[in-house]
Symmetry: C2
Subunit: 214 residues, 2 copies
DNA sequence: GCCGCAATTTACTTGGAGTAGATTTTTTTT
DNA sequence: AAAAAAAATCTACTCCAAGTAAATTGCGGC
């Protein structure tokens, strides 16, 4: 990965060329995080990206900015996966289930980066930005779906937050002791969010006499 | 609040009495956090509790331990409020709505402490403990409710996590720009978790012709 | 050929978590 | 009763990671 074998000293680089542009640096940072885990320091990241710390700070900004930038990456990735899974499904219910499943599998596939990005404290500004970006697409989707169904669209933001929060915590908890099967977990979460608690906490009288099929 | 006007020096205190016990210290820490905000340092907390840092560390443990201890406090408080609200409701649906509402109002009433406790990164061990404690009661509740309804009780942990995650993120986002009315927000969240997305995303054909009552 | 500007690195400062060791009082032992 | 051991405390430190300032070198204009 090193650009050259000669040890760089201080001073402007030889070819008039800048050491690394923003995209390259972000990619390098992501790679370091993937291989060394979510607890890497800014020194680690700079070193791993073959760059010194001031360069990293000058090009990308402080740690919060790095988190935000990488968060955008991974969120957009997850959104793409979710959209693809959703479109391939035959009906709304299946689409929703497939979306949840795709999200969790996406997190699983990029654990370290997900954990790095989610190291932001829930009270922080980065966290807020992260949630905003995660929920933006959902908000407009819910909003128009509610309107289409003749229902109040005002609920959209709260609902999107709910789902983001659900996915975030389920993913995090699952990542720590990965005992359970991911698809099962996805199914369970889908069932709650799709059908709600009513069938469980206030079951129709007939429910106790039947088997829980379909 | 200061125990005495004489400046303490080093050495074992006069009366054979220890300077502060754990409970007193936790209460003092909570008070400091409430008045100075969630960004207080351990020095601030020690000073505010009229104690030196090593005492704080010896009596309570490190910062993670402090967070955990205070988290238990606030979680137990919230649980009490939720249970009281739930019991006073006439039917399951109302009980659930009242629970959500009580939780959010409880958070609102102790903002700083809630933010302090929720400064734990989602990837951390404290976070996990926090979630575990928050969800314990719900898990057993859901589990038995599911069994009673003749349904699979295995979903209980995932469902409890979902609800904890939902509440956490909704509370956090709401705390930052408190524009909306808290009761409205609670109602919106309740609607999602109680009835699910189905009525919105896959409305029964009749839904567009009727008013959305019962 | 020399001077200012640009890009980089080295080496620092800062701030908060956590700790070691000095200091004083109580308790126990002889 | 004196001295040694133990207990409880405070001062002052270390350590680590984030972020920055100043020194160092190369490039272009005159």
């Amino acid at each position: 990965m090193s650009t050259s074998s000669t040890r760089r000293g201080p001073g402007r680089p030889k070819g008039g060329r800048v050491v690394a542009d923003r995209e390259t640096l972000l990619a390098g940072a992501a790679e370091v995080i993937r291989s060394q885990g979510p607890d890497v320091t800014m020194d680690d990241i700079a070193a791993g990206a073959s760059v010194t710390k001031p360069i990293l700070y000058r090009t990308i900004g402080d740690k919060a900015a790095l988190v935000t930038a990488l968060a955008e990456w991974i969120i957009d990735d997850l959104n793409r996966a979710v959209n693809a899974a959703s479109r391939a499904a035959p009906d709304p219910r299946a689409a929703f289930g497939a979306s949840i499943r795709a999200y969790l599998h996406g997190v699983d596939a990029d654990r370290n980066l997900y954990l790095f990005v989610n190291a932001a404290a829930p009270g922080s500004d980065e966290f807020r930005r992260l949630v905003d970006r995660s929920s933006a697409a959902m908000i407009s989707g819910f909003s128009s779906a509610r309107a289409r169904a003749g229902l109040d669209p005002e609920v959209a933001p709260a609902w999107a937050w709910s789902i983001v929060g659900t996915l975030q915590i389920v993913a995090t908890m699952w990542l720590r002791d990965d005992g359970r099967d991911l698809d099962t977990l996805a199914r369970e979460v889908s069932e709650l969010l799709w059908s709600g608690l009513a069938p469980t906490l206030d079951p129709p009288p007939s429910a106790r006499d039947r088997t829980p099929g379909a």
